[in-house]
């Protein structure tokens, strides 16, 4: 009886403790967001909220464009590497070393990756700062993360599902494509959100690779022209890089206001992206495994 009571009290304390922490996290997140958005609104100067040469529209575009390109490059690479690690690599010393390298790569400080990108994608190619060098550098940051997510996801899949597929005469590749990848798709979506989030916020890896300025005209959409927003060999600064630059070196008298606006834009962008990606993920999942399964998955979390 006594023990029972004690266990109950411990259970209650743990529950309350976890609630408090959860509330703290939520409060922290909302206050940061609200504060940044509030400052952005307070500092609002209309002429910077545009796609003119002074406006932040350029950086907004650059951010989205570069993150999109880096995901297009890193997602196939990362997912294939994860498939290789989970399904093809035989357990050996070499595999362990590869896995450790991927983990190390995933935790490298981005300034280091930035310098690597500068040396390889800028110096070695005899070019100057350009968007593509920045995109490749971002990809280096994203690939290990996506590899990890894919490998972990595949390793956690119930072995019996694989057996079921093989027993129907499916090949290994068919099993991977038609059973395993669909089963981890929600995780891949989460992984891509995380990778993109890293890209949105990245400054250190880009300052030596994609550059600190942009000189584009939004009336020129010919990708081969150097002043076209679509051109990938022009210099290209993102919102995060712009904030870093404005706070540090700019001599513009409005620089702090612009930085506040950029910060607010960035955080709103990240929010919209996360929500959008999550909804997309859910729609895909629902299409694939059916809505009732998602519901029952939720229900099965008893107390």
């Amino acid at each position: 009886m006594n023990r029972n009571k004690r266990a109950k009290i411990a259970d209650n304390i743990a529950t309350i403790f976890l609630y408090i922490i959860a509330i703290l996290v939520i409060v922290l997140l909302t206050s940061i967001t609200v504060y940044l958005v509030y400052r952005g609104i307070k500092s609002y100067i209309p002429k910077y909220m545009s796609f003119s040469p002074d406006g932040l529209g350029i950086q907004l575009f650059n951010t989205l464009y570069m993150v999109l390109l880096s995901i297009i490059i890193s997602a196939p690479l990362g997912i294939c590497a994860g498939i290789y690690m989970a399904e093809y690599a035989k357990p050996s010393k070499l595999t362990d070393i590869v896995r450790m390298s991927i983990e190390t790569l995933a935790s490298l400080p981005s300034i280091v990756v930035g310098i690597f990108g500068f040396l390889v994608f800028v110096m070695l190619t005899h070019s100057t700062w350009n968007m593509f060098a920045g995109v490749l550098t971002l990809s280096i940051l994203c690939v290990p993360l996506l590899t990890r997510v894919t490998e972990d996801g595949l390793n956690e899949i119930d072995q019996s599902m694989k057996e079921g597929s093989y027993a129907l005469g499916a090949t290994k590749w068919q099993t991977i494509v038609h059973v395993l990848l669909p089963a981890i798709l929600p995780r891949l979506v989460t992984g891509i959100i995380l990778a993109a989030g890293r890209g949105f916020g990245e400054a250190a890896a880009l300052i030596y690779t994609a550059g600190l300025t942009s000189d584009v005209s939004f009336s020129n959409w010919n990708p081969s022209s150097i002043t076209s927003p679509l051109n990938i060999f022009r210099t290209s600064d993102t919102l995060a890089v712009r904030i870093w630059y404005l706070k540090g070196f700019a001599i513009n008298p409005d620089k702090y206001q612009i930085a506040d606006m950029a910060a607010a834009m960035l955080i709103i962008l990240v929010f919209i992206f996360n929500i959008g990606a999550r909804i997309t993920g859910r729609v895909i999942e629902r299409k694939m495994i059916g809505s009732s399964a998602i519901k029952s998955k939720k229900k099965s979390k008893i107390n």
Binding site: G164, A167, M288
Partner: protein
């Protein structure tokens, strides 16, 4: 009596542990054969040699001969995916894919190259009818297979195996996770299946073996102790160990 499957001097080793010892048996076409024996005696292992699922386990070594319609299952010229198309398997635990009911059944035919939507529709309907669940699910083919009950999932897995039109169906304790009603449905189903297919079933349930099986094989520690008509095994076995086991005095 024609033998669909002939096993000669079959030995199987997991690395250095021998799990099957010198098995000889012939399995009749369009009959139900039950495999019984205490846990760990090698029933699942034997079943998995028939569709070469053991190929997936590293360190497995097999000697002896196993022929399906006279063709050596383990000859290098035999394509494993084609073999598994001819020899379907249903596992102990239902393992539907996390896709719709329709896509689960269409999975096998699609992997073997069928794209025609009309033909797939036909196969899905026929397989579900053959596994006696068409009426239960015909209105929710697009629903997730995971939304079905355990018993329905298992019958779906049977339908999924039937969809590739196999010749032999291997069932590894297909009802051990199911309630009596679902079990009854599956036993009933087996009786219709044997009109078309050769069925081999592993079971721990003696009544089930007597109810469904034409022949029964008793395994013990990797040996095939006795193999005969089910009636003989359960009423008049030749080996005292078999008698001990089927009468429940094993230990």
């Amino acid at each position: 009596m024609s033998c669909k499957l002939l096993v000669e001097n079959l030995n199987l080793y997991y690395s250095d542990i021998q799990a099957l010892k010198d098995i000889n048996m012939g399995i009749d076409e369009k009959k139900i054969t039950a495999l019984i024996g205490p846990s760990g005696c090698g029933k699942s292992t034997f079943l998995k040699t028939i569709n070469r699922m053991n190929d997936l386990i590293p360190g497995v070594r097999i000697t002896g001969k196993m022929t399906l319609d006279g063709e050596d299952i383990y000859s290098s010229s035999n394509d494993v995916t084609l073999l598994r198309k001819r020899v379907g398997m249903v596992f102990q635990k239902p393992n539907p894919f996390p896709v719709s009911i329709y896509d689960n059944i269409a999975y096998g035919p699609r992997r073997h190259g069928l794209k025609n939507k009309g033909r797939l529709d036909e196969i899905v309907e026929k397989s579900l009818k053959d596994s006696a669940m068409w009426d239960e699910v015909k209105d929710k083919l697009k629903k997730s297979a995971l939304s079905l009950s355990g018993g329905q999932q298992q019958r779906l897995c049977i339908a999924r195996a039937l969809a590739v039109e196999p010749e032999v169906i291997l069932l590894d304790e297909p009802t051990s996770a199911l309630d009596p009603i679902s079990t009854f449905k599956i036993e009933d189903l087996m009786q219709t299946l044997k009109e078309t297919y050769t069925v081999i079933i592993v079971t721990h349930n003696m009544q089930q073996a007597t109810r469904v099986a034409d022949k029964t094989a008793f395994f013990l520690l990797g040996d095939l102790i006795e193999y005969d008509e089910t009636e003989v095994i359960f009423t008049n076995p030749q080996n005292p160990k078999t008698l001990e086991y089927v009468s429940g005095h094993f230990g």
